[in-house]
């Protein structure tokens, strides 16, 4: 068993984990942060995407021990403490960017990273950013629309797909 300490959504956590425990399982089962979902456990579907030191990672492909000392952000940290939704969460609801909601946390975290790096992405850039996140329900269009709605860029604008 290994001792680890990390900051998750601005709160310090410490605990002991087996070396083989994935970061996603640690978040879900040890910390009770069950918003991070596991869709394939082989790094393709992106449902378990969280941010580690600001960069998106697959929670299923990273071991918890590798996150020692890291700053981790998960979907639970997006809304304000008073429950006010992040504008991207708000936009997902308004534009119907989610149906079953299983891929949604991974989508959101991937897009948070995108918007931090590129506050005004084109439609093509949004589609490329989420090309590593599978969604069976929506067909992606409503997700793309949600992102563009928070950046003020219309769907299908010049220079896009």
């Amino acid at each position: 068993m290994q001792e680890i300490t990390l900051l998750v959504n601005n709160r310090p956590y410490s605990g002991t984990v087996e070396a083989r425990t994935t970061l996603a399982d640690f978040l879900r089962h040890s910390l009770g942060l069950k918003g991070t979902h596991l869709g394939c456990e082989h790094g393709v579907c992106g449902a378990c995407t969280v941010l580690v030191d600001g960069a998106s990672v697959r929670g299923c492909l990273m071991l918890a021990v590798q996150a020692e000392g890291a700053i981790v952000e998960t979907v639970e940290g997006l809304a304000a403490d008073d429950g006010t939704l992040h504008r991207l969460q708000e936009a997902f609801s308004k534009e119907h960017g989610l149906q079953c909601g299983f891929c949604t946390p991974g989508m959101l975290m991937t897009l948070i990273e995108l918007l931090r790096e590129n506050p005004s992405p084109t439609e093509t850039e949004v589609r490329e950013a989420i090309s590593g996140n599978l969604c069976r329900c929506t067909g992606y269009q409503s997700i793309v629309r949600a992102v563009l709605s928070v950046t003020g860029r219309p769907v299908g604008a010049a220079g896009d797909l």
């Binding site: 918003g35 989610l98 996140n133 329900c137 067909g139 409503s142």
Partner: protein, 795 residues
């Protein structure tokens, strides 16, 4: 309280049906506070893993679990023998049937004598964590003797072919015919007859959340089972028949379900094994399917082979259609086999076809069992019909849209009775729809008429662009009923209880909208409990695009009954004539005076209290349960036009434009309808170009990760342009038709039509789905080679 809406509508809340309101489901799902199956935590919960067959067909000689049992942290390693004291049968019942009995095609709870596909569950391991359970599963040592494998449904019927399970006399599970009219005469008198061999493959369902089961042993011999299923009541009925536990002590609940798409329609061995093990061990157990298990144990909708002939007159009018279809059923049939029947009865689609005959063989193979994936045989039907119509059009030199127009059922023939029966024996009656107008509308939107010119220009630049179209109809709203109960609690809160299953479609929001309008409240204050057998006594669940029609109608009638009762009770309590009262924002008010009473107060009166007056002539309770009955289907229709560009040197297809018209009757929430249509189309794009569940000749699966099995991602789809018609369904109280599958059904046919059209300079024919770049490259190469050898044969 009264807002500005009251000025115009007389009510605080404007009608909600027909509005794009945001979903009541969204809040928890967006913040990571949904409760999916793997999120359920119970005291002392143990975790399970299954040992699955590594071979497609083998005799089981010995199962040695000693090393696995000895691993620290392991609580039990169970074979079928261990579970039998808790089970009435070691064999699964026929799910989704009133019989529920076992037959020679139903699977086993755990297989311990013979295995018939890679992935078949054999041993259940229970441990302190899933990690340890999987460690122990790897230590289970099973001795097998390989048996001959049936990997190809077409070869499975040959004389001397091995059988895929030794208990069977033949791999042919069933053979049936459907048809009507004098087909032979139609062909004898036809101006033209064309034929084709079609291969269709649809792959897996792949909801992003896999299956999963939690079984909780409760005091008093009670058992609560959570399952990520589309069919909680079926799981309940089947489990009650399987386990040695009284039905009234059993409860089945669906938590948040991370997508259904068909595979969660079946009652699975894991759903029987886990509760049996929980009863045996008196412990709470959880099993969550991982993605590899999805690939090798969740049902798939795999191969169908269609040999077809079409007869037409000189104008391209359909005279007859006939053929044979071989359906790969896989190793078992967990529920009545409806896919091939759906497929061959849906072939005639929106068209008038005077004579028809299909012979169908349902064939077992040593592969994962087959059942419905979104569309359930209708996409194959549409592909067959639309491809045959394209064949006629191309051969006769008639525009592909024109040949469809000539054969579509005209609007003035509605309702139109097909000379075919549903599985229930009822006639197929198309209730409403205007197919020619729908097609004309989408063609105009898609620029069909000037495409030939654009195509010519592109070809001059060396670019191969193509356009294709496909029509579809889908029988939706399958009965016999779905439960809908509306209850007002003592604080005035409105709750809906239904046997419909929420699996991501937004059914809670749509039902709340219907209920809200009847009660003159806002939909977001309504709570919806779907899929809990302790809250809804009988119900069916989610399949066949049925829940909006069936549960929606029941909820509408239940809410209407509650509204009437509230008015009646208020009339007695306030001494105001019923006609002078109206519901508004949680109150019954005088229309002109100022008396009012809240729904909460009415509920408190109607729930009764000892020694207090009870209104005369009213039944207790401010609630109503309706199970609106239907045997008829409401037929939704769709027409899709796809535009593609193909790189003939790479076999690469790019979808450049997609215009889809959908008519699902009244749209309760147009935003949700659009989401269903778009998601459905993208599923169909996957079926057309990407999704393939491969097996080798020994029936070993070849595609067991998302790296090998390709799902559509955001970069493969253009912005889909969707158009809606609302032909109200005459047969139900809300006028709606289902929409969950209509997007998927014509999509592959439209795309393949477009790809073939793009490659028309090569004169090739595409008779299969999916079409990967490799397959397309080969088709183009052989067309080029043929043209080189025989330069005059090119069209």
């Amino acid at each position: 309280m009264a807002g500005t809406d009251a000025m115009t509508s007389g009510r605080t809340h404007a009608p909600s049906v027909g509005q794009r309101i945001t979903r009541i489901e969204d809040g928890p799902l967006l913040t990571g506070h949904g409760e999916f199956l793997d999120d359920i935590v119970l005291p002392d919960l143990l975790h399970c893993a299954f040992v699955r067959s590594p071979l497609a067909h083998a005799r089981v000689d010995a199962i040695d679990v000693e090393a696995a049992r000895a691993l620290p942290g392991v609580h039990a390693v169970l074979t079928l023998d261990d579970l039998m004291p808790q089970l009435r049968s070691g064999r699964m019942p026929l799910g989704a049937s009133p019989v529920g009995g076992q037959n020679k095609s139903t699977p086993f709870v755990l297989s311990d004598k013979e295995v018939a596909y890679v992935g078949e569950p054999m041993v259940l391991v229970v441990a302190e964590s899933r990690y340890i359970a999987e460690d122990a599963a790897a230590l289970v040592n099973i001795a097998f003797s390989s048996l001959p494998v049936v990997s190809d449904a077409r070869k499975a019927l040959a004389d001397g072919a091995p059988v895929c399970r030794t208990e069977l006399d033949s791999n042919r599970m069933s053979n049936f015919h459907v048809g009507y009219g004098d087909v032979d005469e139609a062909f004898a008198n036809a101006a033209h007859v064309f034929e084709d061999e079609l291969w269709q493959h649809r792959g897996c369902g792949h909801s992003m959340e896999g299956r999963g089961v939690v079984a909780e042993v409760r005091p008093g011999g009670e058992l609560c089972v959570w399952s990520s299923t589309q069919m909680p009541h079926d799981v309940y009925y089947m489990l009650a028949g399987m386990l040695r536990v009284e039905q009234e002590k059993l409860r089945v609940v669906t938590p948040d379900v991370g997508g259904g798409f068909g595979p969660k329609y079946c009652f699975y061995p894991e759903e029987a094994a886990l509760p049996a093990a929980a009863l045996l061990l008196r412990r709470n157990l959880k099993w969550v399917e991982d993605r590899r298990e999805t690939f090798i144990s969740s049902i798939q909708e795999r191969d169908q082979y269609w040999s077809m002939q079409v007869a037409v007159d000189s104008e391209g009018l359909l005279l007859g259609l006939r053929g044979r279809m071989i359906h790969d059923q896989g190793a078992y049939a967990p529920k009545p086999v409806n896919l091939p029947y759906n497929a061959v009865t849906a072939v005639t689609g929106p068209y008038i076809l005077p004579a028809y005959r299909m012979d169908v063989d349902v064939v077992h193979t040593n592969k994962v069992p087959v059942s419905s994936v979104r569309g359930a045989g209708y996409p194959q039907a549409a592909f067959t019909m639309e491809r045959m119509l394209d064949l006629v059009a191309v051969r006769l030199g008639i525009d592909r849209a024109e040949i469809r127009r000539r054969n579509l059922i005209p609007a003035d023939k509605m309702p139109y009775t097909k000379k075919l029966q549903a599985r229930s024996g009822a006639s197929l009656v198309y209730d409403s729809g205007d197919y020619p107008a729908a097609q004309a509308q989408v063609l105009a939107a898609a620029g069909w008429s000037d495409f030939a010119e654009r195509q010519k220009k592109a070809l001059d630049q060396g670019r191969y662009i193509g356009i294709g179209l496909a029509n579809a109809v889908k029988g939706t709203g399958r009965g016999p009923f779905e439960s809908g109960a509306v209850r007002i609690s003592q604080d005035g809160k409105v709750s809906i209880f239904t046997g419909a299953t929420a699996m991501g479609q937004g059914i809670a929001t749509a039902l709340a909208q219907i209920c809200a309008d009847e009660l003159a409240i806002g939909p977001d204050s309504i709570s919806v409990t779907a899929g809990d057998t302790a809250r809804t006594e009988i119900g069916l669940g989610g399949f066949a695009s049925r829940q909006m029609v069936t549960a929606g109608s029941s909820v509408k009638l239940a809410a209407k009954a509650v509204a009437a009762k509230a008015i009646k009770a208020a009339s007695k309590i306030l001494s105001v004539p019923e006609g002078d009262l109206e519901l508004d924002d949680g109150y019954v008010r005088e229309k002109t005076g100022n008396q009012s009473i809240s729904l909460g107060e009415l509920a408190r009166v109607l729930r009764g209290a000892p020694g207090y007056a009870f209104p005369d002539g009213l039944e207790p309770g401010l609630e109503a349960t309706i199970r609106w009955r239907t045997d008829a289907l409401s037929y939704a229709n769709a027409c899709h036009v796809a535009e593609v560009e193909v790189d003939p040197d790479l076999g690469q297809v790019t979808i450049t434009r997609y215009v889809a018209l959908n008519d699902s009757g009244r749209m309760i929430n147009p935003m949700i309808v659009e989401g269903q249509v778009q998601g459905g189309i993208v599923h169909g794009i996957g079926n057309a170009l990407y999704e393939f569940m491969g097996y080798d000749d020994e029936a070993q699966p070849l595609t067991t990760t998302f790296q090998e099995y390709l799902m559509v991602t955001a970069t493969e789809v253009p912005n889909l342009e969707t158009i809606y018609r609302e032909t109200l369904a005459p047969g139900n109280p809300i006028g709606a038709k289902g929409v969950g599958e209509t997007g998927t059904i014509p999509a592959a046919a439209a795309i393949i039509s477009a790809v073939e059209n793009a490659l028309s300079p090569f004169g090739l024919r595409i008779s299969q789905t999916p079409v990967s770049p490799e397959i397309l490259f080969k088709l183009i190469k052989s067309a080029r080679d043929a043209a080189r050898q025989n330069p005059d044969s090119q069209s």
